[in-house]
């Protein structure tokens, strides 16, 4: 096997229970986002665009849609003979079968996968975030600092620091303390859940951590604090740009709405850093003589005979005559029948909103979620 400088591992086993009905039979990284993507398209596309061609995706919870989506990695140009994308589920061995017990345990169970490529570095990512980032710049920084570990960080508003894992650093961004969701933060650099490790070092800590009876098998709770306590050189890599955790119904809705801003920082239309996805390959969408569409994103295969404002329409959505869709996210194949009105809602894949019904409320802060039993797993 050809040696690789860096291997990326994406943690995609999360249940995402705060996304409620959307993740009943779908892993969180497979949740649709932004009119045509699934959340995991962002880290995979970032890998591909960064020139990282060896990517392991660790799955566990409800992996059917995720596995079908990733396949052999064609959409991301990761269908390679050397490296490429590999889906890594929990497995049986002679010692018996077991689930991944936590984030660090998931990597521990796949040490043999990483070792195949004999890399200098591993990049650990979560499959839960929306952002565009060049990981190679982070690797350059990691080398420049001669670090053992580099953590991607982003400046968050001071009033939000109690929602994040905060890193306290010296002036040259060397980390001296972790502060998990602090009430009185000393810093406003939040961890993005993006880590570069020197592989030999990480491997030793993973093996040692398995022996620890009190471990939580977690990077944030066990591995990183232990490495810091032992005096390893750990640095923060400040990222500037759009980054969102879309782990709740509210934040998923907000993330979608932010795409409609004309000066959206995500720059989804920027072709030098495209986000790739499995494509529905449907004909262009149609706006009829009755259609009014303003400040909205519309994808292929849609048929709009009604009114759409400040909304995101995924492929193959049908909007009937005199129907109104306002500030909403309509996932693939949703049908809004004639005369129905939808305000401030997320409508899950394959849902049908019946004629003349009213969903959601413009005056409420809360987002209405409509799900159904048939989630269109293999859209």
């Amino acid at each position: 096997m050809i040696k690789k400088e860096i291997v990326a591992l994406i943690l995609a086993g999360g249940q995402g229970s705060r996304l409620k009905g959307l993740t009943t039979n779908l892993a969180k990284p497979a949740v649709p986002f932004g009119g045509k993507y699934r959340i995991i398209d962002f880290p995979i596309s970032n890998c591909s665009n960064s020139g990282i061609d060896t990517v392991g995706i660790l799955t566990q919870y409800q992996p059917l849609a995720l596995n079908a989506h990733i396949g052999i990695g064609k959409p991301w140009d990761l269908d390679r003979t050397q490296g490429g994308v590999k889906v890594l589920p929990p497995y049986m061995s002679q010692e018996g079968g077991r689930w991944f017990k936590g984030t660090s345990n998931a990597i521990y169970e796949n040490i043999h996968f990483v070792d195949t490529y004999d890399p200098e570095y591993v990049l650990i990512l979560s499959g839960d975030h929306i952002y565009k980032m060049d990981y190679m710049k982070m690797l350059d920084y990691h080398k420049e600092k001669n670090a053992e570990v580099t953590l991607g960080v982003i400046e968050v508003p001071w009033e939000d620091t109690n929602r994040f894992g905060i890193l306290n650093t010296t002036d040259d961004l060397k980390i001296y303390e972790f502060d998990e969701k602090p009430e009185n933060a000393k810093n406003n650099l939040a961890s993005m859940g993006i880590y570069i490790f020197n592989w030999k070092k990480l491997k030793a800590y993973l093996i040692a951590d398995q022996e620890n009876p009190d471990t939580n098998y977690d990077f944030g709770k066990d591995i990183l604090p232990k490495m810091l306590a032992n005096g390893n050189d750990m640095y923060a890599y400040p990222f500037k740009g759009y980054w969102r955790d879309v782990g709740t119904i509210q934040s998923l809705w907000e993330g979608n709405m932010e795409m409609l801003d004309e000066d959206s920082e995500l720059k989804i239309h920027d072709e030098s850093w495209k986000i790739y996805s499995r494509n529905a390959n449907l004909p262009p969408h149609i706006l009829t003589n009755n259609a009014t569409v303003k400040t909205s994103m519309v994808n292929e295969g849609c048929y709009i005979d009604g009114e759409v404002e400040k909304s995101i329409l995924f492929p193959n959505v049908k909007i009937g005559k005199n129907a109104k869709v306002i500030q909403s996210v309509l996932m693939p194949n949703v049908v809004i029948e004639d005369g129905a009105t939808v305000y401030k809602s997320i409508i899950a894949t394959n849902s049908v909103i019946k004629k003349d019904s009213v969903i959601g409320d413009e005056s409420l802060d809360e987002i209405t979620l409509v799900t159904n039993e048939d989630h269109g797993l293999l859209e």
Binding site: G34, K36, K274, I275, P284, I286
Partner: protein
């Protein structure tokens, strides 16, 4: 359909569609917002189970090769069978003057001989339709005839001017082939699709080369029709022939008819094309779009009516576009107005421009022009 090869013969007459074929063959003219003409034939093949496909190109094949790549988009990147593009082996101008396309087929005869399939389906690219070829194939096998020609009964014959018409007996057997002069209202139009045994096709090509009396495959075929039993198969769905700029314009506008759109882009037999990974089209607050077909990746601030908008088009504020076809990656500057216009790819219209054509003679702006 595992026992049938697919051949797409691209020696198609371009004299009435010159503006759009300066840089490309008819097969790779963009169509219906996101497709190329050849996508329909390729998708018809794949949807009917024909997985061993050859495309015989003429000159100007660069855009076509770029479009087809490995055949990925149609699942034709196969280890067993798949797609092969045969580009002319040497100076095509010379071949055309002396030999037509028959020499091109003759040079690739080994591909035909070595394939394990016993039958061939020969097609053009410029007949836009969604046809289940497996039904025509079953009909051919059952008929026991040597050759089956696919046809459609046409009522508005002037749209299909100068194409082949078939005279048949009441049971559909071919009597003779003529030309559509547009004078007769109802005609039986040849869709220039033929089914026959592979061995028969090889024989026809070899005879033509030996005798030196036919320059084109079609010519060779027609010359031999009297020696064989020939039947016809009726196709009844939507059909357009993209052999003139007017037909190109009309066929695009046909897509705004929802019945035609649903028929052509059937979910059971989807039309596939190369995927470009654009984000969704964004409609800004000032946009006003009605009765139009819009592909992905556009950024629209202006007014659009009765038009076809391809991928990655930018339409600035105050723009009015009516009855027009705007191809991919064009930009229409602020306050411009376009009516009955076809903008080819990469055209840049500066602000405050006025362009208008006639529905019968649309104003065509060639690829890459800045106005």
């Amino acid at each position: 359909m595992k026992n049938c090869l697919g051949i797409i013969n691209l020696s198609e007459l371009e004299s009435n569609i010159q503006e759009l074929t300066k840089v490309r063959p008819i097969a790779s003219i963009p169509f219906a917002g996101r497709y190329r003409i050849i996508d329909f034939t390729l998708s018809n093949f794949v949807n009917s189970g024909i997985n061993n496909v050859a495309v015989f190109t003429q000159n100007k094949f660069r855009s076509l090769v770029d479009h087809i790549e490995s055949g990925k988009s149609w699942d034709l990147d196969r280890k067993i069978t798949g797609i092969t593009v045969f580009n002319p082996a040497f100076n095509y101008n010379k071949i055309v003057q002396r030999y037509g396309d028959i020499e091109h087929f003759y040079q690739s005869l080994n591909w035909l001989k070595y394939a394990s399939e016993e039958y061939v389906f020969i097609s053009r690219s410029y007949m836009i339709c969604n046809i289940d070829i497996s039904k025509a194939y079953d009909y051919h096998i059952k008929s026991g005839k040597d050759i089956t020609i696919i046809n459609k009964n046409i009522e508005n014959s002037e749209k299909f001017y100068d194409l082949d018409t078939l005279n048949t007996d009441p049971s559909g057997n071919l009597i003779s082939i003529g030309k559509n002069t547009g004078k007769e209202k109802e005609i039986k139009l040849s869709m220039e699709m033929y089914i026959m045994r592979k061995s028969l096709l090889i024989k026809i090509i070899e005879n033509a080369v030996e005798n030196g009396d036919s320059n084109y495959l079609k010519q060779a075929l027609f010359k031999e029709l009297n020696n064989y039993s020939v039947t016809t198969y009726d196709y009844s769905g939507y059909l357009a022939c993209i052999n003139s700029s007017k037909n190109y314009y009309d066929a695009n506008m046909d897509m705004l008819d929802h019945d035609i759109y649903q028929q052509l882009f059937s979910t059971e037999r989807p039309i596939l094309t190369k995927v470009k990974d654009e984000p969704s089209t964004i409609y800004r607050e000032t946009s006003d779009v009605k009765n139009s077909l819009v592909a992905n990746g556009c950024d629209i601030k202006g007014t659009v009516k009765n038009s076809i908008i391809f991928r990655d088009v930018k339409i600035d504020e105050g723009v009015t576009i009516e009855d027009s076809i705007i191809m991919q990656r064009t930009h229409v500057g602020a306050n411009s107005s376009l009516k009955n216009v076809i903008l080819d790819k990469y055209v840049n219209i500066s602000k405050e421009s006025r362009l208008s054509g006639d529905k019968k003679v649309p104003y065509i702006v060639s690829k890459g022009i800045e106005l």
